[in-house]
């Protein structure tokens, strides 16, 4: 039944497009209005390659995928930093520019009437030139795409993406290069789209810019949104609906000239209704239920105590330390506009000791903190860690070398399970590199097991062992603070910088947190806190640095400093 087959093929092509856009929009959190363009480019590359080199269509499609992914990456790199409206704008602009370019460069693209006579797919002597013959090929393609998509999203890589959508800064504070992840997922998405374009060109033996118009891009977005963002099955559903409905309309007698507007009206209306009443789409991202259940089995750890007491974390052997401070700050300075926030600041963190930064408001504590953790670039001065200079090291490199920070507002990933919150924090996971993810799945699997063990370990240590599969959102605030600490430990970092560990904690809990921080120090971690609650500072800090106007005013034990009337004046004003 050729027509049915053809319609299926067409629907499948759009399923692929929708899935690929979903990777970008749903999982990468980037609204791309230019997806059809990549689809079209892919088609052209494959067509031109096969026509001129006379090679097999697979090679053409492959080249299309690679080349377009490269283009996508090059495009993504600059615009990924800009915020949502600008992203939409930017991609619209790109869409229009490229589309008009394809129309105008007619001696390459054939202009409006495109390139005609693209060779049909041919494998082992079989020519897939009719819709029916082509269907199996198409089906395989769809299956492959789905395999890739699932591999990408339901993996450590996907876990990081999810994290990025929840809180970018938190992710980079856990040692992940956010930009890199986004660019990669954008490349994957565009690559797949290009593949679809190539296949499509060979299937219809024809390619023209018409399939790369803004309308097509909008149609694809509509499909994703209708189906449900960040849900791969939803994408398929969305695509089928918006392809099949108009095809059915085609059978309405004499409605021929009404179909275009009718179809437009229908999916316009659908968009409105869905955004208004069901923004999560037909099949929403049932993250919690599904994932946690599967998590339970995969984890190989149940909530039963037996497996849970896995001994003490290895971070607990205080490292055989060379002498001197493990982290040293020399003459650090940073100014915003005219204002010198941090000015020639000195500080050293002793191994296994707790150092506190105090000072009146706007004295530069937080700035200094951000400088040390790489979230700000210093204007001058040096930061040395284990006698290596780490000045200008970007934030996401810090945890990898053993420096990790916490956040005042916990910044845990609300939508993810407690366990996943911790797993993200593991450093250098092969599962976060797509090559390894596909090349050596066994290794990824093994690592994942180990990571889960380690995670479980710290989870127990902070006393959340029973909650491993809860959604973080459902924890009490105090528990979330504990989770944040566990997540910090999971990075195995040696130096921990805690931003206001006591803020927002129920007074009765303060004691407990002070206890935990002491234990950490006792276990050999080096700790630096920025804390306004002087009670806490007095309670736990070995050394206190008193800052004012971005400089170190004094250094010593809490009591020494508070005995000094001069500091009192600075702190309490005159």
């Amino acid at each position: 039944m050729e027509y049915l087959a053809h319609t299926l093929n067409l629907a499948f092509i759009f399923v692929v497009l929708t899935v690929s856009l979903n990777l970008i929009l749903g999982y990468g959190g980037m609204a791309s209005m230019a997806h059809a363009v990549f689809f079209c480019i892919g088609g052209y590359i494959s067509a031109i390659v096969t026509l001129n080199l006379g090679c097999n269509f697979l090679i053409g499609v492959l080249m299309a995928v690679v080349a377009t992914a490269a283009v996508g990456g090059a495009l993504a790199a600059p615009f990924i930093r800009v915020q949502e409206e600008y992203l939409i704008l930017f991609t619209i602009a790109f869409q229009m520019v490229v589309f008009h370019l394809m129309m105008s460069l007619y001696n390459i693209t054939g202009g409006d009437s495109g390139i005609f006579g693209v060779p049909s797919p041919r494998l082992f002597g079989i020519v897939f030139d009719t819709p029916v013959r082509f269907l199996p090929l198409m089906t395989i393609f769809v299956i492959v795409v789905y395999y890739v998509a699932f591999k990408v999203t339901k993996s450590p890589f996907g876990r990081v993406l999810k994290g990025i959508r929840e809180d970018e800064r938190a992710v980079s504070s856990l040692g992940k290069n956010v930009i890199q992840f986004k660019v990669i997922v954008f490349m994957v998405g565009t690559g797949i789209a290009a593949g679809a374009g190539g296949i499509f060109a060979h299937y219809t033996q024809f390619i023209s810019p018409a399939i790369g118009s803004l309308d097509e891009s909008i149609l694809i977005i509509a499909m994703v949104v209708l189906g449900g963002t960040a849900n791969l099955w939803g994408s398929a559903l969305g695509a089928f609906l918006l392809i099949i409905i108009p095809e059915i309309l085609n059978f309405l007698p004499g409605a021929s000239d009404l179909i275009v507007p009718l179809r437009g009206f229908i999916y316009g209306a659908l968009l409105i209704i869905f955004m208004r009443f069901r923004p999560e789409g037909l099949i929403p991202e049932y993250f919690h239920l599904k994932r946690t259940e599967r998590g339970r089995q995969k984890a190989g750890i149940s909530s039963s105590p037996k497996v849970m007491d896995v001994g003490t974390p290895k971070a607990y052997q205080a490292e055989p330390g060379s002498e001197g401070p493990i982290l040293e700050v020399k003459g650090l300075s940073k100014s915003f506009g005219g204002l010198k926030a941090v000015d020639d600041f000195f500080m050293g963190l002793e191994r296994g000791k707790i150092t506190a930064l105090v000072g009146p408001n706007g004295c530069g504590k937080t700035t200094a903190f951000n400088l040390v953790t790489g979230f700000l670039k210093p204007d001058g001065g040096h930061i040395r860690f284990r006698d290596k200079s780490i000045t200008n090291l970007p934030a996401h490199k810090m945890p990898q070398i053993g420096i990790a920070r916490s956040w005042q507002d916990v910044r845990i990933f609300q939508g993810m399970t407690v366990l996943d919150n911790l797993l993200i924090a593991r450093q250098n996971q092969s599962g976060e590199r797509l090559i390894k993810l596909f090349a050596m799945p066994w290794q990824v699997k093994r690592e994942e097991q180990e990571n889960r063990k380690a995670a479980a370990l710290y989870l127990n240590w902070v006393g959340l062992g029973e909650k491993g599969f809860e959604i973080a959102r459902n924890l009490s605030y105090a528990e979330q603070k504990l989770l944040a600490i566990a997540r910090l430990l999971t990075t195995e970092a040696q130096v921990l910088l805690l931003d206001e560990p006591s803020s927002g904690v129920d007074p009765n809990w303060v004691e407990q947190f002070m206890g935990i921080i002491r234990d950490l120090a006792a276990s050999g971690k080096t700790i630096c806190i920025v804390e306004h609650n002087l009670e806490v500072v007095r309670g736990i800090s070995d050394t206190v640095y008193f800052m004012a106007e971005g400089r170190k005013m004094a250094q010593g034990s809490a009591d020494e400093l508070m005995a000094d009337p001069k500091l009192g004046e600075i702190y309490f004003g005159v």
Binding site: P360, N361, G362, Q408, D409, S476, Y477, Q480, E500, S502, S503, G504, V505, D506, P507, V510, H532, N533, L534, E535, M562, G568, E569, Y571, F572, G573, V574
Partner: protein
């Protein structure tokens, strides 16, 4: 009592910040609320004024329960608030800012007189009448913010860290102005990180730590304390 706050609980979503705080301000009284950063002073203030929803306790103003009443209504009722920042319209002229403030209470009628009062306190504002607010210096912006707040002739003026980012002598001037405002019969509830200033201005002082009010004491007792560290 002009306003009485009874063990108020305030928080953002699941994170509670203020735990059962109670305080009161009498007519024409000058009260300061001090404490370390993140102790919950600002949060408490905003809750009193209706910017944040309370989770427990109540606020009684002029005998009526105004818990969770919208700020817009409160300001009409003489409960004026000066935010830490963003308390004026950057792209509007000084005059327009003041006019809008007057509009808030719908008493634009005798605006001329009110403007005189404000200009009396802050002459600089008159000079800069036509200037865009965001072209003013930090200190002048603060003055404008306070000016807008008192333009409505409030009975209770809530100030959130007005001295933030001001040079020491500007802080002194500000202190003076606040005293004058009090003389006009406006009660003031001041949240300050400049503790000395807060104490010296106020008749009574409340101290907060990690979300609780740990101390209420008089001006004199606070002045005579040999050190304040243990309150922070």
């Amino acid at each position: 009592m002009l306003i009485t706050v009874k063990n108020l609980d305030v928080g953002y979503r699941d994170k509670q910040v203020v735990f059962g705080a109670s305080l009161n301000v009498d007519v024409g009284e000058f009260i300061s609320l001090i404490g370390h950063n993140g102790a919950g002073k600002t949060t408490l203030l905003k809750a009193v004024c209706g910017f944040l929803k309370t989770e427990g306790g109540q606020v009684i103003y002029k005998g009526a329960d105004i818990t969770n009443r919208s700020p817009a209504v409160n300001v009409k009722d003489g409960l004026s608030f000066v935010h830490q920042e963003k308390s004026l319209f950057p792209n509007l002229s000084v005059l327009e800012n003041l006019q809008l403030a007057a509009y808030a209470v719908g008493k634009a009628a005798d605006i001329e007189r009110r403007l005189k009062v404000v200009y009396g306190l802050f002459p600089i504002l008159q000079e800069r009448e036509r200037q865009m607010a965001d072209t003013l210096s930090g200190g002048q912006q603060k003055q404008l913010a306070v000016g807008m707040a008192i333009l409505v002739e409030p009975e209770l003026l809530l100030l959130d860290e007005p001295s933030l980012g001001l040079s020491p002598n500007l802080v002194k001037d500000l202190g003076g102005v606040l005293k004058e405002i009090q003389k006009m019969g406006t009660a003031i509830l001041l949240v300050e990180q400049n503790v000395k200033m807060a104490i010296s201005l106020a008749q009574r002082i409340y101290v907060m730590r990690t979300g609780q009010i740990i101390l209420e004491d008089t001006h004199d007792n606070m002045m005579n304390r040999e050190n304040l560290w243990d309150l922070f």
